[in-house]
Amino acid sequence: MKNKKAKTLEDAVSRIQDGATLLVGGFGQPGVPEVLIDGVCDLKRRDLTIVTNNAGTGHSGIARLFEEGCVGKLVCSFPWAKESFVFKELYDAGKIELEIVPQGTMAERMRAAGAGLGGFYTPTAVGTDLAEGKETKTIDGKDYVLEMPLRGDFALIKAYKVDPRGNLIYRKTGRNFNPIMAMAADHTIVEVEADVAMDELDPEVIVTPGVFVDTYYITGWYEIGKERNAS
C-alpha cells in the first residue's frame, strides 16, 4: 500500500514549485492548514496563485505567505476584512493580483473541477459586476452565468483524522472548503490532527475518501490562530 504519510513538513510540501496554483482550505480560522502554509513559506516559492476564502489574518498563515512575497495572485470571496491588512497593503501597492469570486461559485467551481465538468450555469452574480465578460444564458426563463472549473496544482487542506489509506474526517465548521478542494487538485496535501489505525474510521462516515489524498502530515492539536512552538 502506498505510504501517504509525510515524515517531515518539508517532505509534505516540497513538490510545490514557483508559479503553482494552491487551493488552501479554511473559512475564518477553522480548517486552515496553518502548519502546511508555514511549510510553504519556508520553501520561499514565488508567484504562487492562492485560492482561499479569506485574505489572511494578522501576520501568520496566508498573511505570512503574502508578506514574504510568495504570492502573485489571490482568488477569494472576502478580501477586505480588517485583519487582512497585509494583503491590503500589497494590493494597494500593486504587488498582488486579485480575483473576487462569490463564495458559493468558488466552491462550485472547485467541485466542477473535481467532478470533471467543463463548466456550469449559475444564477449567482447575474447582472452584477462579477458577471462582466462572462457568457450568460436564459434557461427556462431564468438567467444564468457560465462559470468555469477552478483546479489547483495542489490542495492544502486540514482534517481531523486520517487512516492509512488517507480517508479523512473533519471537525465541525473546520470542514468548509476542505473536502471540495481535496477533489479539485492534482496533488492533495493534508494537515491532520491525528492518524488512526486501519478500520478505525467507519466507511459510512468518511467525508473525503483516500482516493483524493496524496500526502498527509500529522500535526497534533494546536490552538488555531496562535503562535506555535517551532517543531
Binding site: 472576502f78 473576487i100 458559493g104
Partner: protein, 225 residues
C-alpha cells in the same frame, strides 16, 4: 442624539421586529451584522433553524463562558454553538442549500434597495472591489430576502430608492425591508409601507424614502416596553 429622541428604532428593536416575521419551521440565513441579533428575539414556541454558509445547519447562540469550541464558528467568524438536530456539511453542499431554494429566508444588510427589489450590499460605488462573500449566492437563491438596515445614510440620504445607484448584489430579490423607521414590502405594484415606528408618520417616512410608498393600511411597529 439618541435614537429614542428621534423616534428611530434601535438595532435591537429592528431585529425584534424582523424576528416576528420568521415563521415556524423556516430555515434562515443571517447576514453579518444586525441580522445576527435576530435569533434572540424569535417568539417562543416557533421553531426556526439557522443556516450558516460555512457548513453549519442549526447554528445556536454564542457559547457560555469557557465552553467555546475553536472549530465552531458562524459565517461572521464568531464563536457559536449548535442546536440539537443540526448537521455539518461542506461548502458546496452548504451553497447547494442556499442556491437550490432550501432557505426559506435570508436576512441581509443593505447599502441600497430599489423599488423593484434590487439588492445592493457588497460594494460601494467609489470602491473598485468589495468583499462579496456568500451574499450573491444567498440573495439569488433564497425563497425570500429581507433587507435590514438604517432607513437612511448617516447624511440622511435615502437608501430605499426608485432605481439602484450602487453595484448590484442580486436583482429583484428583496421581498421585505426592515429599517429603524419602517417595515416595507416589495410588491409587483411597488413598495408598500406596512408599518412605521411609533411616533413617526407615514409622510415622515416617505420624506426620507427615494421611491413612492403605497400607503393603504399603515400600522405601527410593535415595540416591547
Amino acid at each position: 442624539m439618541s435614537d429614542e429622541q428621534t423616534n428611530l428604532l434601535t438595532r435591537q428593536q429592528i431585529a425584534a421586529r424582523a424576528a416576528q416575521d420568521m415563521e415556524d419551521g423556516w430555515l434562515v440565513n443571517l447576514g453579518i451584522g444586525m441580522p445576527t441579533m435576530i435569533p434572540a428575539f424569535i417568539p417562543k414556541g416557533r421553531d426556526v433553524m439557522f443556516h450558516s454558509e460555512n457548513g453549519l445547519i442549526g447554528m445556536g447562540p454564542p457559547p457560555a463562558e469557557g465552553e467555546a469550541d475553536q472549530d465552531l464558528i458562524s459565517a461572521g467568524k464568531e464563536l457559536v454553538t449548535m442546536v440539537s438536530g443540526g448537521a455539518f456539511v461542506h461548502h458546496a453542499d452548504s451553497f447547494a442549500i442556499a442556491r437550490g431554494g432550501r432557505l426559506d429566508c435570508a436576512v441581509l444588510g443593505a447599502f441600497e434597495v430599489a423599488a423593484n427589489g434590487d439588492l445592493c450590499n457588497w460594494r460601494l460605488p467609489n470602491q473598485t472591489s468589495g468583499s462579496v462573500g456568500g451574499a450573491m449566492d444567498i440573495a439569488a437563491g433564497s425563497k425570500r430576502v429581507f433587507a435590514m438596515m438604517t432607513h437612511t445614510t448617516r447624511d440622511g440620504a435615502a437608501k430605499i430608492v426608485a432605481e439602484r445607484t450602487y453595484p448590484l448584489t442580486a436583482g429583484g430579490v428583496v421581498t421585505r425591508i426592515f429599517t429603524n423607521m419602517a417595515v416595507i414590502s416589495v410588491t409587483p405594484d411597488g413598495l408598500v409601507l406596512d408599518e412605521v415606528a411609533p411616533g413617526l408618520s407615514a409622510d415622515e417616512v416617505q420624506a426620507v424614502t427615494g421611491a413612492p410608498l403605497i400607503m393603504n393600511a399603515v400600522g405601527e411597529i410593535a415595540v416591547a416596553a
